[in-house]
Amino acid sequence: MNKRKITILIVLLLVSFGPYYIYQNIIYKDARDINNEKSILTISAKNLENHYAKNALQADSKYLNKTIEIEGTATEVTDSSMVIDGKVFCKMNEIVKTNFTNKPINIKGRCIGFDDLFGVVKLDQCSIQQN
């Protein structure tokens, strides 16, 4: 009898909270939070661009949609984006207040692919890693 009660209780719980779980965690799950994700590797901006220029397909399979960290010098800075060593374009998550022009920088972001028009690798949802 006791066992049966527990089974009924479990079934009831599943029926009442199951749809909610599906709704919350599958249909309306949160988007990836790149800022809190661990990067899979750290690479210099030049090496990353080199890899893409040599073999875009192979580079895509390795970096595309992955969270990576870029090292280099900021060459072009606007309030919402940064170009590292003229090779990697980073779209920042937040407006950058400090001026990083010509300063060494370490940026984490999601690789979204290679831009042939400018010959740059693009990253979005970027954040600055050092202070």
Partner: protein, 181 residues
Amino acid sequence: MKKRIVLLFLLAGIFHVSAQKYATKTGNLKFEASVDSFEEVAAENKNTSAILDSGTGDIAVLTLMKGFRFKVALMEEHFNENYVESDKFPKASFKGKIEDFDASKISATAKTVKISGDLTLHGKTKKVTTNAKISKSDDKITVTGNFEVKAEDFDIQIPKLVSKKVADKIKVNFNLPLTKM
């Protein structure tokens, strides 16, 4: 002789000015395939690259599919994995020309121009012709407009289960703030 040389320099000067390029790495591209009374199907890409040659009116636009952001994460996942297959086809591009383009005639007040060219998406290329508005202030040329495409034209299959919730015609909006290179 001297006159000729001067003339040559003048011409060279004109040629140099007319071959000016305008570009952006942060152009805005939006598309919407919503159907009334169903959930909004729309995404925005704020990292679209574009280059305009003000001498010839040639325009090239490139956008990375992974850069399209949806409000709903699952929709973004389906878009990337099942619809545009962004692992296989990571970019979409447009190569075209602004018809009868004359850089000296554009001003702060927007002028309507016709743009036509090839749109490549999901490994398929199709001719697209659209009207756009073009304006200029200082060193900045802004090109804005919209056009419609059909998913089937680019071999993108929409499953029957959701076909009622995704519009047949997809409206694409573009806003390209181009600065002098």
